[in-house]
């Protein structure tokens, strides 16, 4: 047994953490994340230059990582810095392009920014209920809340079947907007839009890509909850009421400790999921992670606000933005109930 992080990954984490801390401080983040284009294109290019996307792809396909642990440590740092860059779409596009046997290079250099369009209003997270139709190399339908959709160069679209299609963003009607927790998204309107088929029978590839995304989001939440918790413990030690630091009140101490316990649980389940990404257990472990982390992230968000008092209700104080991200991660790639149902379906299989 060895739970230590390999030297290569440690270097990647340290570099990324230091870079984001210095170049993407939270006040800059708050400035760019809520106004068009809802992220910082210069930082996107800089992160690509750091090799961020290469870390998401395996070595035999031109990357420098691509294992569950590589993805987890990258997203943990993005979460710690509350980074609004649309890396998630890039990760999914990398996984889908791997499945399709396509060329990864433009994705790895960041020259192409891709977004993956799965969800539809009626279907929610259910790939079986998609209604976007393909006919004669053209797609018709509406994809909703496409993360990173605003400003993407390429859209990888899941259509009924499900099949996977490649759409040049300029050919579709892309209505961009920001998210309540910052970052870009879009509605994508397809009306006999030209598209090329990447994978005709794409269920396995889409589920796999979504599992990678769910792992990434769980790790992102882990980084964000650690950061928020650190702010809480600082505040408990410094904020005084009734002549003493509020952290001396046992009513708060016990709850802070409960959060610390839950965050350890979150770390462990993320590690477990990361270790299972290239095994038959992938789906089960990812759903365990996303389910548990979804619940814990919300608890951390709510408790961190409550124990700060009014100040955490303000836009000015960064905790509020962490809390929003922590809660809203549960709205991406299946919420904690969705993953619980998936787990319930696996119970009898062992």
């Amino acid at each position: 047994m060895d739970f230590s992080i390999s030297d290569d990954r440690r270097m990647l984490t340290d570099t990324l953490r230091r870079y984001l801390f210095e170049q993407y401080p939270v006040d800059h983040r708050t400035r760019v994340a809520y106004a068009a284009p809802f992220h910082d294109p210069a930082q996107w290019a800089a992160l690509a230059g750091l090799g961020l996307f290469h870390a998401l792809a395996p070595e035999d396909r031109g990357g420098i990582g691509g294992t569950g642990f590589d993805v987890a440590v990258v997203f943990e740092e993005l979460g710690r810095a509350l980074c609004p860059e649309p890396v998630l779409g890039q990760l999914m596009a990398i996984r889908l392009t791997l499945a399709a046997g396509g060329d990864l290079e433009p994705l790895l250099t960041g020259e192409t920014r891709a977004a993956v369009a799965l969800d539809e209003a009626e279907a929610g997270w259910d790939l079986d209920a998609l209604t976007t139709r393909a006919a004669d190399g053209r797609l018709t339908g509406r994809k909703t809340v496409v993360y990173g959709g605003a400003g993407a160069d390429r859209l990888l679209v899941a259509a009924a079947g499900p099949g996977l299609w490649d759409v040049a963003a300029g050919d579709a009607e892309v209505a961009g907007y920001g998210m309540i927790d910052g970052g870009p998204a879009a509605e994508v309107f397809l009306d006999a839009t030209p598209a090329s088929c990447l994978i005709p029978e794409a269920r396995a590839a889409l589920e796999e890509a979504r599992d990678w995304a769910a792992l990434a989001l769980s790790a992102e939440a882990l980084g964000a909850m650690e950061a928020a918790f650190a702010m809480l413990t600082d505040y408990l030690a410094t904020r005084k009421q009734f002549g003493q630091p509020i952290g001396t009140f046992q009513a708060l101490q016990h709850r802070a400790v409960d959060l610390a316990i839950e965050i350890e649980q979150a770390r462990s389940i993320v590690i477990l999921a990361a270790s299972a990404m290239d095994t038959p257990e992938r789906a089960k472990r990812v759903s365990q992670a996303k389910h548990l982390v979804g619940r814990i992230a919300r608890q951390v968000a709510e408790e961190v606000i409550q124990m700060h008092g009014g100040i955490a209700m303000t836009w000015e104080y960064p905790v509020s933005h962490y809390a929003k991200r922590l809660v809203m991660i549960d709205h991406q790639m299946g919420d904690s109930d969705w993953h619980l149902e998936r787990l319930m379906g696996m119970l009898e299989a062992g």
């Binding site: 809520y34 969800d119 209003a121 009626e122 279907a123 929610g124 997270w125 259910d126 079986d128 209920a129 909703t144 809340v145 209505a175 907007y177 920001g178 998210m179 309540i180 927790d181 998204a185 509605e187 005084k240 009421q241 009734f242 002549g243 009140f249 009513a251 708060l252 919300r298 709510e302 606000i305 409550q306 008092g309 009014g310 955490a312 209700m313 303000t314 836009w315 000015e316 509020s320 809390a323 929003k324 809660v327 809203m328 549960d330 709205h331 991406q332 919420d335 109930d337 969705w338 619980l340 149902e341």
Partner: protein
Amino acid sequence: MDLTYSPKERAFQAEVRAFLAEALPPDIAAKVAARRELGKAEMDRWHAILNAKGWLAGPWPKAFGGQGWGPVESHIFEEECCRANAPRIVPFGLKMLAPVLMTYGTPAQQAEYLPRILDGRDWWCQGYSEPGAGSDLASLKTRAVRDGDHYVVNGQKTWTTLGQHANRIFCLVRTRTDGKPQEGISFLLVDLDTPGIEMRPIRLIEGGYEVNEVFFTDVRVPVTNLVGQENEGWTIAKFLLGHERTNIAGVGFSLQALEQVKALACRVTRGGKPLIRNPLFAARLAAVEAELEAMRITNLRMLDRAARGGRLTTEPSMLKIKGTVIRQAINDLARRALGPAAAPFPSEDLEANLQIAPEGHARNAASYFNNRKISIYGGSNEIQRNILAKGLNS
């Protein structure tokens, strides 16, 4: 035992319902239902409609222009208002300052201010909290120093709800620095147009603007604006805390919010089925409904006791805790029910042009975040537990 309203109370309920059906402007109700921010003009318009009917200040004694409603009538009125998606009556003048003036104010103060509260000429805000004095309100530092016929006020208030619409603020200020902190506080009425006052907006977590910081620099306030005796402010603050607590549970809000979530869950689908048939979501909904029904009865038991002249001790704190937790749980479900569609930053533009969430629900995540405040303000739930714990030991 009889869990229902008396015939007289039922008649009143029907009267309120009929009035609301006729008098509540649909545009305002639609905004309330969709949890959009109301402007001052809309709030003033609704207040004026209620005032014309004589119901703006229903609980006020008749002598001051009210109806003399008891706790049960007040409760029925609030419940019906929530059901109809009427705006909440802005409480600062009508429910906070008015009872204080009726109890501690001079006849001159009553004659000057109460009519202006009723007809909307004055919009009051509450200046209690300070950056350093939240839960520990008695540690407040804003100083008022006597100088002839005036107090000179220096300091800062914060969290001033809807201060941007107000022309006056009632403040707790420090008039003595020696002795126990509670014994050096006074209750002062301040005109916000007085030179030396600056108000700055605070933006909240979800992006909305409803609270402010207020800075006082050498603000001269006539001594006639003191309410009660100098250094009696803490007694007044405690009186106010014990007042108008019958709606503290917010049962009406929760009932209405629950109905909205149920309707939403019938409308949105998951896995090809209406969300309401999803066992996990349905279980959450059914469980919170049971909690809410229990609290509704707890609330009525308390109202009944109050109506029979009983003294309320621990009940308001219990209802504040349970009421806020249940409301927040319902807000949580309203957000969850949307799935992916909860994510966009809400704006009127987005609602009009893209309609990502079902109509009226685009702000579900925003109101979930905004309503984290209800377990913090008005005495946080931790402070309420401290109050209850003291009660256990005495």
